[in-house]
Symmetry: C2
């Protein structure tokens, strides 16, 4: 059943065959199919003949030949950098939403401290992409890897665009980002509206995006005239284990009535720690996350209030920016708006 490998017909219908059938030259066929005047328009008659022949033969241009001739692969390379549990598929769909209508497809390469950089470099150097989309997490230790990607891209003359997670500007031409600051500010402000005053921040060190979220936290406190308590700002490594441990510790050492965690993953770990410490959520401690991983956040106990992170839209925008750079058009970047998704961990009633 599984043995007999499929016969390999490799039905390459070529331009030449169409030319034969339509009684024209390869060149004419190419022009018709690519809709390129040369410099004169093609007569409607031959146009039609060619189209019909192509249709009949089920012609599909060979991508390799096209790429070789034009020097463009119609492919972008999406580098997933140190990405493990995030919503890759939403980003991918967003990117495709923009790319596919323009005929581009996506090659992916995952990279982390141990794997993939050299292969990724290989892909770039071998001409398999017209531009690069970087997504994932750049930590200080892994920055050299980013540099490699950046350098290879530069020697090939390819633009690099960041998708979410605000990459440092030395490594990208531009980045498609969401309004981390504004979103966080809204979240923390919401906690303040609920009468919370001692709000802890569960943050992440050394990450631009996390820094922005921290800034939003500070803004909200400032606007409400609440002094920042440095002891309630805790920066870690983004892991759930860390978030759990540090929250547990905090319950023993400090007074606080709310937590703003810069990711949902951290928020749910913190929530578990609060419960382990005998605190009720949201009565004793309210909590808000960030990202809205809906299939988790909706079903925590209580359901997690959080900020919607529009990965799909970010993907679309990043793709748009990349294509613009490839075509030397204006970038068209903007900070994507985010919005609070109110559930119950903040203290709101159902």
């Amino acid at each position: 059943m599984t043995s007999g490998n499929p016969q390999k017909p490799k039905r390459h219908v070529t331009l030449l065959q169409i030319a034969d059938v339509a009684q024209v030259s390869k060149a004419t066929v190419s022009m018709v199919l690519n809709d390129r005047p040369n410099p004169f328009p093609i007569s409607e008659a031959t146009r039609k003949r060619v189209m019909e022949a192509a249709q009949k033969l089920g012609y599909r241009p060979n991508a390799a030949a096209k790429a070789l001739a034009t020097g463009r692969s119609l492919t972008i390379l999406m580098v997933a950098f140190d990405l493990w549990d995030e919503n890759l598929i939403a980003r991918l769909r967003g990117v495709e939403a923009h790319l596919v209508p323009k005929g581009y497809s996506i090659r992916v390469c995952t990279v982390d401290a141990e794997h993939g950089v050299s292969f990724c470099a290989e892909l770039i150097r071998s001409g398999q992409a017209d531009g690069i989309l970087l997504t994932g997490l750049a930590s200080p230790q892994t920055l050299p890897i980013l540099k490699t990607v950046r350098d290879e891209a530069t020697t090939m003359g390819l633009p690099v665009v960041g998708l979410a997670n605000a990459f440092p500007s030395e490594y990208v031409e531009a980045t498609a980002d969401i309004d981390d600051t504004r979103g966080s500010q809204e979240a923390v402000d919401h906690l303040i509206q609920h009468g919370r005053r001692k709000i802890a921040l569960l943050g992440v060190a050394d990450q631009p995006w996390a820094h922005n979220r921290e800034q939003g936290y500070r803004n909200a406190l400032a606007e409400a005239g609440i002094p920042v308590d440095p002891e309630l700002i805790i920066l870690g490594d983004r892991s759930q284990t860390w978030a759990y441990d540090v929250t547990l510790e905090l319950t023993r050492s400090h007074e606080f009535d709310a937590i703003f965690a810069v990711t949902d993953n951290m928020a749910i770990a913190a929530m578990a720690a609060l419960k382990a410490a005998g605190k009720r959520v949201p009565e004793d401690c309210a909590i808000i996350g960030f990202d809205n991983n809906a299939h988790i956040a909706r079903f925590t106990d209580p359901p997690l209030t959080t900020i919607e992170n529009p990965f799909y839209d970010a993907g679309k925008m990043a793709a748009g920016m990349l294509l613009n750079l490839i075509d030397n058009k204006p970038l068209g970047a903007e900070l994507l708006p985010v919005s609070l998704v109110v559930r119950q961990s903040c203290g709101c009633k159902h």
Copy 2:
């Protein structure tokens, strides 16, 4: 800062340049670089000269030219079929783990009922892949789409391999699957060990993998001599909303002391419903899921006992099988073992 588009050097170091430097012909360079006797070996001297020249010039073969000449793209197409919230990155990493060492890279294309099939077909027909990896969910309504992929692959002579989620055999040469039946049987058996007798199954209709998980449930009951209560077998559409609603309903209409949900996502929704109905987990109702989405399952309240779904390994295996098919080698398929991850929702103490 973001305006001046990067200059485009496009440093294509070619075979010819190496040939020049090394004082040999293109052909010789090609042979050396590809390690291909012709039919006689290359002399060590020229070999070295060529290698050094290549090294010095920083030569990287042009993928398009190579593909055009050989008819092989060294690329596989990964089709993500109706996949939204699953762990794509783990599969991807697994696939890459096997593919990259062999020089293959991955092109991705997401497809669902509304989008992407025609583009996916395009990618296949334009020779942009040597084989296809199918992953995601095939529902009866979307099967025609699968058929399209399959047909295009066939006309191009490309093998199609399924990665997880057991695709129907008409659409794939083979599939890399996990032992759904065995895993589920273990899970349900574990519940039985805890003294549970009225175990509800939260399943999914029309999905081979879900059917296997149901079979495991039945096996466990059979071995324990517990009669199957058809009313406790509930098949739905895999959505969390459905799982939540149906569980809530069940608490009102039936007696049961445990739930086996065929996915973690359904399990956490069910858990929320149980709590909403005033049931304690696991005292009143134990619950076990499937997949081990660790960043969720570890932090539910109580932590979710579940079956580890080795997506990474499945990715590796699928990639291996696909490459074997491409090279006409024996398939090397096997059912991947799964294991129970015991936490507390089953009734075990910490």
